[in-house]
């Protein structure tokens, strides 16, 4: 089916209401209020810029040209803090090492295919590099020791979790589960409460 589009502003409007608990509001508001600029804490500035460029292709946001949902800062901050999510593929080295090696490996693919840095490539060429990463056995010495498929999966999963935790991304998919007070009473098929958004138009998929 085609993808529904939901009106903007629904989540922001709900955040100010009694439908949202204090703990929930605090978590979401902090993401909305995150500063637009971020100085990397763990990655070197050029490596961080590369991570941002990769994230911009894995989650392109042409609809948010001036203020995209920030994605790379969450990864850099986590690596700086040494936080983990409870598990790691045994095939991968510890996260800090995996990200350093993996981002270096993305440069290697770009060099092997296009003889220049990832940052200098057109969007379509960058996508071609990422397709090679997501496939198997991309070129580059990094990928002789780093499992490309597993690294790509981990990178994509972390970016996806960061993106869809953001109130504006939740708004984009018509999700207002944060506004759950006092209760959801209409939970069956094709039922919704008045505060749940209706799709406003249909886009072609």
């Amino acid at each position: 089916m085609s993808s529904p589009a939901y009106p903007s502003g629904t989540v922001r409007a709900l955040l100010d209401t009694a439908h949202v608990s204090d703990a929930t509001r605090a978590a979401l508001q902090a993401r909305l209020d995150a500063p637009a600029t971020y100085a990397p804490q763990f990655l070197a500035p050029e490596t961080f810029a590369l991570l941002e460029a990769v994230a911009a292709r894995l989650f392109p946001q042409p609809d948010r040209p001036t203020q995209p949902i920030p994605l790379a800062p969450a990864i850099d901050q986590r690596l700086a803090d040494g936080r983990a999510d409870g598990w790691r593929y045994d095939a991968l080295p510890p996260d800090r090492e995996a990200y350093r090696m993996g981002l270096g490996g993305i440069q290697e693919i770009a060099q092997a295919q296009f003889q220049t840095d990832f940052m200098n490539l057109e969007a379509a060429q960058q996508d071609a590099v990422l397709h090679m990463l997501a496939g198997s056995h991309p070129p580059g010495t990094a990928w002789q020791t780093l499992d490309a498929g597993r690294f790509f999966e981990e990178l994509l999963a972390e970016l996806a979790a960061t993106y869809y935790a953001h109130p504006l991304a939740q708004e984009e998919i018509g999700y207002v589960g944060m506004a759950d007070l006092p209760a959801w009473t209409k939970i069956g098929l094709n039922e919704k409460e008045d505060r749940e958004p209706k799709p406003e138009e249909r886009l072609s998929s």
């Binding site: 089916m1 993808s3 529904p4 589009a5 949202v20 608990s21 204090d22 703990a23 929930t24 605090a26 978590a27 979401l28 292709r57 894995l58 989650f59 392109p60 040494g82 936080r83 983990a84 999510d85 409870g86 598990w87 790691r88 593929y89 045994d90 095939a91 510890p94 996508d127 997501a134 999966e153 994509l156 999963a157 970016l159 996806a160 979790a161 993106y163 869809y164 935790a165 939740q170 984009e172 998919i173 018509g174 999700y175 589960g177 944060m178 759950d180 006092p182 209760a183 959801w184 009473t185 939970i187 069956g188 098929l189 094709n190 039922e191 919704k192 749940e196 799709p199 886009l203 998929s205």
Partner: protein
């Protein structure tokens, strides 16, 4: 309990839960039991002033029920829980990322061909353990689940039959306030029905009813440990009904879900249990006879020692064997860390023209156990089918990992969130020599070796997954889904300190007592001899109560 509250239209839970064990019943009926149980062994070293009867490590489904039972019997009990004690009503947000603190986030290494996702998938920490984020899906196993070896010649049998657990299931369903169908459509007739009617079906459950009916598969509203009406909980007071938040896996904020922090733990506290959160046990001390004498733990950066007469290890299937291995304890059977099993949990997702809004309502609203022993099975055991709701961040992660969508196609697919619904299975798993937990060279933040979990789905699991995926795709096609895809996954780590009849091939006996160490008990899913074809929480609690009763019975005999 205020008198007027009883008059409201709510279900009244018996103030005293049923107690199965006759000796404990006698104890409770008598004078208050002596606080100091006489020492088990006369030749033991004189007790230090701070010695307690029992230390319980871990306050999830394995530790909390027995903690309450032991405290109610008048024993002096201390509980050490690695994680904090939350105030769910105030602290729990309706936000997946903000709730990450519910998971055991120290890194575990996932090895093998089908590495087990841990963290949010398979772990927990805090007073309440994994029950803080379990889905509350609480079906009983069917009697033949305990006899795979008898029926198929593969796997292991439990050292006792279903009749040993049945009274505990009845007790738990009443005490926790489980909402479920009466009569229950599968398995033997039951003496007692569920105390509450089933929770309402959400969109995914309604779609599964639609699809399954067309294929002649029987379905039923499922048993869930969340309240479909207000309920009186001893030690807590009135627990409010479920508000259909759908966030069970990120923590219940209104106490409707029967996690341990709103059920057995307040009961234990009411009877004098001493709960110590943020207490991470590193060492188990023994005397020259090999009896446990106490534990060393770190609380808020300070090292502490607690002496005890009996130790109950309830840390789950990773931390329990890790503690045993780190302390060179109860290892003579060679089975600690072995027999690691995980439930096949393949999910099938589809997109519907209908609005589903899958974040609302109890996630596992519907069940079918028609696939418990499928006639056309080419595998041992069987599985259950369950409709599933989902939260957006969890779903996005699965789409990323499972479909490998990225860029605009990922964003486009996710915009269909309000139209997706899922079904998954929970299937039995056979132990295999390649599947085990060990200590890795690599150290974690505490300076301890990280656990490494090896898991490779073997032929039996692969055949079961294939059988199940075909059926689930059929149900979704019949229900009108498009863009159907499967996400392979495994849930729950089981079996790493199994129980059995002999210390030659098992770590603990049928009562949970370690063969090697007479005053050490294990109570969690590490003792399961087989994985069962249902979610483990209810059976972990049943075993916990049974272990407590067997222990008290033995103490009574000794003292009598």
């Amino acid at each position: 309990m205020p008198e007027e509250e009883i008059l409201e239209e709510s279900v009244l839970n018996p103030v005293m839960p049923d107690v199965q064990d006759p000796l404990l019943r006698a104890l409770l009926a008598d004078e208050p039991a002596p606080v100091d149980t006489p020492q088990e062994q006369p030749q033991a070293l004189p007790a230090e002033a701070d010695e307690v009867d029992c230390v319980v490590i871990g306050l999830g489904a394995g530790g909390a029920p027995l903690l309450a039972r032991l405290a109610m019997a008048g024993l002096k009990v201390v509980a050490l829980e690695a994680g904090p004690w939350h105030d769910a009503k105030k602290d729990f947000a309706t936000d997946e990322q903000a709730q990450d603190f519910l998971f055991w986030n120290d890194e575990r290494l996932a090895a093998g061909q089908d590495p087990l996702a841990m963290g949010r998938n398979n772990s927990g920490t805090g007073v309440g353990g994994s029950t803080l984020h379990y889905t509350a899906y609480t079906p009983r196993p069917l009697p033949d689940d305990l006899h795979l070896k008898r029926d198929f010649g593969r796997g292991e049998d439990w050292p006792f039959g279903y009749e040993e657990l049945e009274p505990y299931y009845e007790e738990l369903e009443g005490f926790l306030g489980i909402s479920g169908p009466t009569p229950y459509p599968w398995g033997p007739a039951r003496r007692k029905g569920y105390p509450l009617a089933p929770l309402p079906l959400n969109g995914a459950a309604q779609l599964m009813v639609r699809g399954a009916a067309k294929l002649g598969i029987q379905t039923s509203p499922a048993a869930n440990a969340a309240l479909s009406a207000r309920y009186y909980q001893e030690g807590v007071g009135w627990r409010e009904a479920c508000t259909n938040r759908g966030f069970c896996q990120a923590g219940c904020s209104n106490g409707a879900k029967a996690s341990m922090d709103v059920t057995f733990i307040p009961l234990a506290v009411q009877h004098g249990a001493d709960i110590r959160p943020n207490s991470f046990v590193t060492e188990i001390e023994r005397d020259e006879r090999g009896f446990v004498t106490g534990v060393v733990y770190t609380q808020n950066g300070e090292q502490q020692r607690q002496r005890c007469r009996h130790l109950f290890l309830c840390g789950g299937s990773v931390e329990t064997p890790r503690l045993l291995l780190l302390n060179d304890l109860a290892l003579t059977s060679g089975q600690v860390g072995r027999n690691l099993m995980a439930h096949p949990g393949v999910q099938v997702w589809g997109t519907f023209a209908d609005e589903v809004r899958p974040n609302k309502g109890i996630p596992g609203g519907l069940i079918s156990q028609d696939t418990h022993r499928p006639k056309d099975a080419d595998f041992v055991g069987g599985y259950l089918l369950q409709s599933i709701g989902v939260m957006p961040v969890t779903f996005a992660g699965q789409v990323a990992r499972g479909r490998k969508l990225w860029g605009q196609p990922l964003r486009d697919y996710m915009r269909q969130f309000n139209h997706v619904a899922g079904i998954n299975i929970l299937g039995d798993c056979l132990p295999h020599a390649d599947n085990f937990m060990e200590l890795a060279e690599e150290k974690d933040a505490r300076g301890l070796p990280k656990p490494r979990l090896h898991f490779t789905a073997q032929e039996n699991e692969q055949r079961m997954n294939a059988h199940a995926e075909k059926i689930m795709r059929g149900i979704w096609e019949a229900a009108g889904a498009t863009d159907i895809w499967a996400f392979g996954r495994y849930a729950h780590v089981i079996g790493t300190a199994r129980m059995g009849l002999s210390g030659d091939d098992a770590v603990v006996d049928a009562n949970g007592r370690a063969f090697d160490v007479p005053n050490l008990y294990i109570s969690d899913n590490s003792t399961f001899p087989s994985a069962l074809s249902v979610n483990p929480a209810l059976t972990i609690m049943a075993l916990s109560l049974r272990t407590a009763d067997k222990f008290l019975e033995q103490q009574q005999r000794r003292n009598g």
